[in-house]
């Protein structure tokens, strides 16, 4: 039984380590990271599974890192009633700023989204901080 317990502990440690890859900033998570059609939310991009983030977050941001100026939008919904909590659009970056503070402090789950708000497909990145 003792060997079994040690084996279990080691397995759990490995699983947790795999879930938090090296190089990730503490408390920062990423989603989308894909080519998104014009004027489309990452969550509506067919064939992709990492396209939004559900959970308690302090910040949600949409980002574009490529050449040129591309408008992006971040969008956060209250998962309880579907209402929009934060929606901002900007060139290359749109962050929720302090909009989510109340929900973060009260441990309320949000659905955080990012999208391409330009007329051509671009690779868009979603970032959350929690």
């Amino acid at each position: 039984m003792r060997n079994m317990a040690v084996w279990l502990a080691a397995t759990v440690s490995c699983a947790v380590a795999l879930a938090i890859p090296a190089g990730a900033a503490a408390g920062e998570g990423h989603y989308c990271e894909e080519l998104v059609p014009a004027y489309t939310d990452c969550a509506n991009n067919p064939g992709h599974s990492w396209d939004y983030w559900n959970g308690v977050v302090d910040v949600n941001a949409a980002e574009y890192y490529g050449e040129g100026t591309v408008n992006v939008c971040e969008h956060a919904y209250d998962r309880g009633n579907g209402d929009t909590v934060s929606d901002r659009c900007g060139n290359g970056f749109a962050g929720s700023s302090g909009d989510l503070a109340y929900y973060f402090e009260h441990n309320i789950e949000l659905s955080s989204h990012a999208g391409n708000n330009s007329e051509h497909p671009h690779t868009i990145y979603g970032t959350i901080v929690n």
């Binding site: 699983a15 795999l18 990423h30 929009t84 909590v85 901002r88 929720s96 909009d99």
Partner: protein
Amino acid sequence: MNMDHIKTKLGSRRAILGVLVAVLGTLSASVAIAIASNSSSVPQGRPAPAPETQAPNVAIVSELSILNRPATAADSLPSGIVGNPSQWLNEQRVGANASLSRLAASSPSGSIYLIPSATGVCMFDTAGTTNVCASADEVANGEAEEAILCSPTIPSGDIEIGGVLPDGTSNPTVLLSNGSIQPLEVKSNTYSADFARSGPLPTSIEWIAGGTKHTTATHVPSSASSETCTTP
């Protein structure tokens, strides 16, 4: 030790093993779902944050002379902003240096600062509305602009646009979706204007510089007019 005792002991070990396998199976499935749903890894193609700039970029100073005026005590950002992820995420990415900030405008709701970054400038409103960073080229083109469609910092029936325009602009206006034009108030290179969600939405900003008319899109989606925003 009789056979019944041995069987009982083996049976209880099998039961424990079964529980452990079930626990591990559930844990593995949970981790797999977590990894499939969200990723904590730093995305490929994402540039490293720019080092904090030690002086305003030459190009941005030529566009925003306010950044070159002597600093006063009023130019210092309030404490608690720098390093706070909800307020400093973009600024940290672009190497903004708070010690070089200049106060551009004040109102009862907050103060607006211009903060030099590695390639341009950030506009920061302590009221929690506009928070935009842009390169010198983007400022020159009027692309240092943010559209706030839902935020607890503005009335739920409003949207807001905010941004930065370079020195030497005149007659700044906003073109609305019904074709009408209204003046845009610019204070020390910054603007911030609210519009009723139920009315015509701002589609572009126009201004004159060097005798030429310039236009830039606000990128406010038409869906903003029907959006339901909630305030805690």
